[in-house]
Symmetry: none
DNA sequence: CGGCATTTGTCAGCGAAATGTCAGCGCCGC
DNA sequence: GCGGCGCTGACATTTCGCTGACAAATGCCG
């Protein structure tokens, strides 16, 4: 069970992480909206705890963006006590639950568990990027309607590029995403993956910008 | 959209009925636990609003009885403000959501809508997935009309996969579902179960996507 | 309580798929 | 033309999932 905590107050974040870790979650933290959006969009979490007041990009916008991109993981919003309009907005934006501050850690954990129970088996919409279609439910991709038989690593690359949109992604960034910083690989490992991917997708899907990185050709 | 309101205070019940009717629900009301249990158990509702403090039979017991009988409609519990332990109990009893009193009617409606959105497509007592038929009442499964003599664990795997639809389920997720996080098993335990299952179902039912997980072949 | 049958977990080993590494080459941009 | 980045194919290695046999746990019945 992997959980992303989005909270800018380090004290609260630490409390949350503590309670959830004790409850058996693996927790990761980010403290601003931009980072939250990116992490939640590229990694797979079983649960997200989302504070609304965030620097750089507020929580509701983060949530809306995730849902617009088809990310369907359960999200529990932390709201200020009594701000019922915030709650309604949150639900409309695609939140699965909210918890008014202050709250008991026991309750947070109970609701987290319930959310996950409820959310398991939820459907992730498919992403269509011109010729490329990504279906995270079935873990498959297709180009021009032709199924690609992708390996896990290959699919992860494709999903990451898709999330980046038409932005050029540096090899370093991709390497860091695929493997952590701890067990790094040769830069060539990535090139090999890309090569195998291209052999399956055919030309016109993954582009190279010499000296910069890779991008999704069909996303622009 | 048919909604059952279980509430013994006539004023609150009237308010609820008003708001929900304006929101497009057909509402029906009962004021005590016995009546609630009977109505909810014999009629089909899209949503139940359930107060916990009820005469004759308290709300939690009603809910537990419904769930024990296999009634799966979404239930929104009304709790007294701040009684967080009551909320936890409610969730454990099978509630889909709760709302602390007092609350705004706008919020109730928003949450009711969200609940129904979430609950639509919930499992049917007898599921037919192409060649595979699951009967949860009798706890049996059959393929091409041929009965499978499944063990409890095997059936649980099949039901979970069926619930996931055509989604690919990771071994981790399945393991966590079958056993809790507390008494974990070797990953191989699952593989053994799958193997035995496949021997009984024959080929073409449970598929593997190497590196991703398992899926129901006949659900796609 | 004890024995039997069924269910379930563990182990070791195998084969195949996925991934990493390497060496060499082509091609882009200067 | 040249230097180097990035691509490619071949090969090595690692990981993953399946299988069959056995052991442990569970449950049932007398």
């Amino acid at each position: 069970m992997r959980c992303l905590i989005v909270e800018d107050d380090p004290r609260i974040a630490a409390d949350l992480a503590g309670a959830l870790t004790r409850a058996g979650f693996r927790t990761e933290q980010v403290a601003d909206g931009e980072a939250a959006w990116f992490r939640g969009g590229t990694e797979d979490y079983d649960l997200v705890i989302l504070d609304l007041g965030l620097p750089r990009l507020d929580g509701l916008s983060v949530l809306k963006r995730w849902r617009a991109e088809g990310r369907a993981m359960p999200v529990l919003i932390l709201t200020a006590r009594g701000s019922w309009n915030e709650r309604v907005e949150g639900i409309d934006a695609g939140a699965d639950d909210y918890l008014p501050k202050p709250f008991r850690m026991e309750e947070l954990v109970a609701r987290a568990r319930a959310l996950i129970r409820r959310a398991s088996g939820r459907i992730n919409p498919v992403q269509t990027l011109d010729r490329l279609v990504l279906d995270l439910n079935r873990q498959v991709a297709s180009v021009d309607g032709r199924m690609l038989n992708l390996t896990p690593l290959e699919l992860r690359v494709l999903v990451y590029l898709a999330h980046a949109g038409d932005r050029v992604v540096t090899p370093t960034e991709l390497l860091e995403h695929l493997y952590g910083d701890e067990d790094a690989r040769e830069a060539n490992a990535l090139e090999a993956v890309i090569a195998r991917l291209r052999r399956k997708t055919g030309p016109g899907i993954i582009g190279t910008r010499r000296g910069f990185g890779y991008y999704l050709d069909c996303a622009r």
